[in-house]
Subunit: 147 residues, 2 copies
Amino acid sequence: MEKRYYPYEDFLADARSLTQKIDWKFDAIIAIARGGLSLAQLLAEYYNIREVYSINTIGYEDTAKLDCVKVFNVPELQDAKNVLIVDDIVDSGDTLEEVLRVLHQAYPAVNFKTASLFYKKTARIAPDWYVDEADQWIGFFWTEDLK
Amino acid sequence: MEKRYYPYEDFLADARSLTQKIDWKFDAIIAIARGGLSLAQLLAEYYNIREVYSINTIGYEDTAKLDCVKVFNVPELQDAKNVLIVDDIVDSGDTLEEVLRVLHQAYPAVNFKTASLFYKKTARIAPDWYVDEADQWIGFFWTEDLK
């Protein structure tokens, strides 16, 4: 698969594009670690939101069944009612789907919506907002620049 | 106080400088949110560490006493024995001090060390590693660039 280097400048432009698409008021942000961490920080500063959390996932192969995702470190939300979940890319959608399931179960009264920089059309679920469809391997600056 | 704009390029150079200073093997990273999120992501990719967590703090003024810091969302560490705590700046040191106290209490068998981009000499505690002393107001790119 072709590889696209994704520099900070593209990230900034795409984050701006996301802010123009997101037509929803939210009071907290959850980053799916590691992918969503930088995006969460940038958006939190833009929206002046101090409630910024992360959530962890581990993917593991179960040879007998489908691939599985374990979600942990579910954040303690303060008084948040509308929470934006962010990630860099929605690839298979497995991670986002399981994160949403766990968060809905933990916080049935909270509204969750999702945003990502990239989305693959073959994913199981689509984020509410995204910037680009990914048909290449994305070399994000946070992976590439310190090499 | 003079203001220094801190672009992504400086952040990248300082993160590289941090990796040259940190003479310690660690198996997990905790970002103090929001300030340490982007740094945690960059370092995690560099060190190929998947255990990347965040921790939250709220500062509040107690008029009768000193300013207080409440720490919450203490992460569930998997099997980590050596954990690097990262933040953008150690200013008064109140946040880092309280984060360390809470983490030592929660995980008495785990070793914690600390790293930041900036450090003020007037802070109550110094991080184990830092890049620059801060004598200006720092306008980090994640705060400035989407404005």
